[in-house]
């Protein structure tokens, strides 16, 4: 299978919009044509060849090496293929992802997976705030697909989340699952203040005791069939973040946020 390798030559001074660099877009292009693709950077447009060394054959897989946090919008609106990133990335990683797989060996900035429709996003490091959340003005955050973060996530994980699964292996910040509409978020570590704030529906899975808002009602301890199905569904995921739902475990179920009539659930394992 052919692979295209883009190696960042030097850390750019300001952010670069890398959204044109997706496997489907580059497939069949010559190295010269790829080098000529213009990338927006602040108020200038830079040819890709100025930023990256280009090697290999474009095809189903694109590898970006030596990446850094100045590379924004990597894999945004990507439709098909595999994007493998070695290093850290900037904001809006996988925003509006339509299909395909993105894997980042380092960490990512804010608004990763916002507006994502389907596909898989795997970040081995930690991510910034607003993972899978809605950008300003939008009524819905992530719309589908699967996001796995091995490290920590910032504040507002899954704000306005509409559909899909977000797994966080480490800790999550404040307002986790705020204004969530549907979908599933699981956090293996600790969460910050006010998880489920203004939550409408959906499921937030927490490992171990957490301080919940007073507007969540304790609905008792349950053994839920859902968790077994969920565990089976995640069996193929190669990450500690997915080893969440042990078979036959009981969870305490809290429903809210009743402050706004919400019927979301927070499930806390014992």
């Amino acid at each position: 299978m052919s692979r295209l390798l883009l190696t960042l030559k030097a850390v750019p001074a300001i952010g670069v919009d890398c959204s044109p660099l997706t496997p489907a877009r580059l497939a069949g292009m010559s190295s010269a044509a790829i080098a000529a693709i213009e990338l927006q950077s602040g108020n200038r447009r830079l040819p890709a060849g100025e930023l990256f060394d280009i090697a290999g054959e474009p095809g189903d897989t694109l590898v970006i090496r030596n990446a850094c946090s100045k590379l924004d919008r990597i894999g945004a609106c990507m439709n098909g293929g595999t994007l493998d990133v070695e290093g850290d990335v900037g904001a809006f990683l996988g925003a509006g992802l339509v299909s395909g797989t993105i894997r980042v060996s380092g960490g990512a900035g804010a608004f990763a997976a916002t507006g994502m429709l389907a596909g898989t996003l795997h970040v081995c490091g930690s991510v910034g705030d607003f993972l899978g959340a809605a950008i300003a003005g939008d009524k819905q955050g992530m719309l589908g697909g699967r996001v796995i973060v091995d490290g920590d996530a910032g504040d507002r994980v899954g704000d306005h989340l509409r559909r899909g699964i977000i797994l966080v292996g480490g800790n999550a910040g404040d307002y986790c699952a705020s204004r969530m509409l549907a979908g599933t978020i699981a956090v293996r570590g600790k969460v910050g203040a006010l998880p489920g704030y203004a939550m409408k529906r959906g499921t937030l899975l927490l490992a171990g005791a957490a301080e919940l808002p007073a507007t969540f009602n304790d609905c008792g301890s349950h053994e839920l069939m859902f968790l077994r199905l969920f565990a089976r569904h995640l069996a193929s995921v190669d990450s500690a973040a997915a080893s969440f739902a042990p078979r036959g475990e009981r969870v305490r179920r809290f429903v809210g946020d009743r402050a706004n009539g919400g019927l979301g659930e927070i499930l806390v394992t014992a």
Binding site: I135, A136, G137, D138, K139
Partner: protein, 556 residues
């Protein structure tokens, strides 16, 4: 510098030119008489065979002030989806339904518009509105100050204040807010909303002041008549959007007792309750009333299909419409007890019965009002559609075949409920020049705009006569603003500053002694800080203050 436009077909209804071939000469921003044989023009444009009109005037378009900014803030996705990159000349800007100030100016100028009037300028927001409009490049601007829901006027009326005192208050408001007319939105209704009323009919007394909308309309219309302000009272009537409001509108017309009155976005006030769905067209009755009453003028507020945002001072009707918000977010608020504000994003759908019939009702009104001097082309931007849809609307009015093709695509029940298909009228170029140039200039009292006579400001638009009127009116060949070429073939070639049009009726400044304690006690600014002067206007982007004559100075 002398400029000549050579050999164009002139459509200038004020001066009786209906396609006559004539050269136009421009010097120092004004149209001048043909100089003698010896004079050679410094710039010569061969426009032979092309259609030459004055610059178009939009007499009702929401381009500045509090609610427009709220609409912008509410719809970042509207801005993200429509980005204009900067060029050598123009700055980066954005926005479709609620465009930024810059996009507003560029796009109006590119379409051949040279003046725009913001119809709902809250006195308490006047400074902000003028600053925003100052930021709109190229086109001239003007505003209508909003009265009729302010505590001060309603209190004066409750006390039974003398009409002369009210006249002074109205004239003072025009003076200090730098406006060219007075608008009233849902007279008394915005105020009544704050006392928990959810509707207020023409003859219903308001809950707190005990005054009827009819009395407010009469008082303000009388004030403008007494002051000799050219623009009649600009009225957004009661019951906007409510099926059956055609009766209210007809009563409003008869209730004004012969005084001049302009009914704005009348399409939204022309609904009947016939048919299975209790929603029908009242266009025929409205058009008949306009034809019969020469004191009445109207702009249509045509709706066109697609995404837009409705922004209105009418918090009562916007509160009613909030459940139709698409996308689902809205704002309804009070503004310093001066008036209100409601912003509801909306998508008009051609397969929706109500929307499709609204579309037909607007066109029925356009085509059934006989006198083009008293009906104006608007979409109530952005409430019916963004102003960038004007060329499409012009084609609908000028091309019967195209209109019927569009009609055939709509919700079939709505198409069947409308008489539009049987109307054969097509607007002529001359009528279009009246409706978009000469008429608005006349009704606003802009003596030197809207025509191409000697001495007129050289706001000129040159079109190639195309069968596809939409293409023709979308991309004029040349647009001149005050004699300077600002747009060529739909591209901005020069960015200038526009003037601010105002009127200054005479009044007794003693009114300030009465207003000062009121401002000190109730308002957020002192009287001294409330007034905006010419220097301040020019500092925030206006090229000059263009003061227009009132019909007469009031007898002391």
């Amino acid at each position: 510098m002398l400029t000549r436009l050579k050999g164009g077909r002139i459509y200038d209804p004020v001066n009786g030119a209906n396609g006559a071939v004539r050269d136009i000469y421009v010097r120092d921003g004004r149209i001048v008489a043909a100089p003698g044989d010896g004079a050679r023009p410094d710039r010569d444009y061969d426009v032979s065979g092309k259609v030459v009109m004055a610059g178009a005037i939009d007499m009702h378009t929401h381009i500045g002030g509090g609610k427009v900014n709220i609409a912008r803030a509410l719809l970042p996705e509207d801005h993200r989806a429509d980005l204009l990159a900067r060029t050598e000349l123009t700055r980066a800007c954005c926005g479709h339904a609620a465009p930024s100030t810059l996009a507003t100016g560029y796009r109006y100028a590119e379409m051949g518009y040279t003046a725009c009037f913001e119809p709902a300028l809250l006195p308490t927001n006047a400074r902000q509105a003028h600053m925003e409009m100052g930021d709109v490049p190229i086109v001239d601007k003007g505003g209508y100050a909003l009265l009729g829901n302010d505590d001060l006027l309603l209190s004066l009326m409750r006390e039974g204040a003398d009409q002369k005192l009210i006249n002074d208050y109205v004239a003072w408001t025009l003076d200090v807010t730098q406006c060219i007319g007075i608008k009233v939105v849902n007279p008394g209704g915005i105020n009544a909303f704050k006392f928990n009323a959810r509707k207020l009919d023409l003859d219903e007394t308001s809950p707190h002041y005990g005054i009827t909308p009819r009395a407010i309309l009469l008082t303000l219309a009388q004030a403008l008549e007494d002051l000799g302000v050219p623009h009649p009272l600009h009225v957004h009537g009661c019951n906007l959007g409510v099926p059956g409001n055609v009766d209210t509108t007809l009563e409003t017309i008869s209730g004004i007792e012969g005084l001049p009155m302009h009914l704005t976005h009348i399409q939204f006030h022309s609904y009947g309750t016939e048919g299975d769905r209790k929603f029908s067209s009242g266009a025929a009755r409205i058009a008949e009333a306009i034809n019969r009453n020469p004191n009445i003028s109207a702009d249509v507020g045509q709706i066109l299909f697609g995404q837009t945002v409705t922004a209105s001072g009418d918090n009562m009707s916007q509160h009613r419409n909030r459940k139709f918000a698409s996308p689902d977010k809205w704002v309804v608020m009070d503004i310093e007890c001066d008036a209100g504000c409601g912003v509801v994003p909306f998508r008009y759908r051609d397969q929706n019965f109500v929307n499709a019939l609204q579309w037909a009702i607007g066109l029925e009104i356009f085509l059934s009002v006989d006198d083009p001097w008293r009906i104006f082309l608007t979409t109530d931007h952005p409430n019916g559609a963004p102003f960038t849809t004007y060329p499409h609307l012009i084609r609908l009015l000028m091309d019967k075949t195209f209109r019927n093709e569009q009609l055939a695509r709509l919700n079939p029940d709505a198409a069947a409920a409308s008489t539009l298909g049987s109307i054969t009228r097509e607007y002529t170029l001359n009528e279009m020049a009246i409706m978009t140039r000469a008429g608005p200039a006349k009704i606003l009292g802009l003596a030197d705009r809207g025509h191409l006579g000697i001495g007129a400001g050289a706001d000129i638009t040159v079109y190639t006569d195309r069968e596809d009127r939409e293409a023709m009116f979308r991309t004029p060949d040349y647009v001149f603003k005050d004699g300077e070429l600002v747009a060529k073939e739909g591209q901005i070639v020069k960015v200038t500053l526009g003037a601010t049009h105002v009127v200054k009726p005479a009044y007794d400044r003693g009114i300030e002694d009465r207003l000062r304690p009121y401002f000190a006690r109730y308002r957020s600014t002192r009287l001294e800080n409330f007034a905006i002067d010419e220097e301040e206007l020019c500092e925030c982007g206006s090229s000059r203050l263009a003061v227009h004559q009132c019909r007469h100075a009031r007898v002391a």
